[in-house]
Symmetry: C2
Subunit: 115 residues, 2 copies
């Protein structure tokens, strides 16, 4: 299904599991710092290498997530996904989660396409 | 973390995302037919080939799930996972989901280990 995704940073809904959606997304480049006030977010890397910058207690650190690995960003945690090369990701998160979270702005995708 | 799992059919909790748990599990052989009354269940295959037998409207069919692919079993759907060779799986399901669901029996694991 990834072949049908052309835009970067635009999650596509592929399934629902209870109250969560499963979304496929392609990352390339640097996104925007943001957090989700009430929602945890899971990023499972299918291909490529994701660099996740995380700010906790005003310290900034980086977690490298490789294919077959995942990271859970707890609600309230500021994070910035970076993909030096293209990264393919499965997201698990509630239906209500906006891609840009607290940041908003022009990269927000409010209506997600379904595959 | 998979290296730390030795038993088959025994899910290990590795993370929580909102109300769902992420569990790692190794399958080998044939499990038992069962369903989950209220919980959807997602099986994402990391390695090996999972054969998922599914009964819907009294018809039985098989879905083959390969590495990088996943299947969502909606609540109420009878299913039987089969692993001819070892299969490594990420499960995504509510905390309350029992591995044997409606079937119960000796293969039930009520208290899941955490990794």
């Amino acid at each position: 299904m990834l072949a049908r995704i052309h835009d970067h940073w635009k999650p596509h809904v592929v399934a629902q599991v209870n109250d969560s959606l499963v979304k496929l997304v392609k990352f390339r480049g640097e996104f925007v710092w943001h957090h989700h006030a009430a929602e945890d977010e899971m990023f499972l890397v299918i291909s490529g290498t994701l660099r996740m910058r995380v700010r906790e207690w005003s310290e900034e650190r980086e977690v490298v997530v490789r294919p077959g690995e995942f990271i859970v960003i707890p609600h309230g945690t500021e994070h910035l996904p970076i993909a030096d090369d293209e990264v393919h990701v499965i997201l698990f998160e509630p239906q209500s989660t906006l891609n840009t979270g607290s940041a908003g702005g022009e990269r927000t995708v409010a209506e997600l396409p379904h595959l």
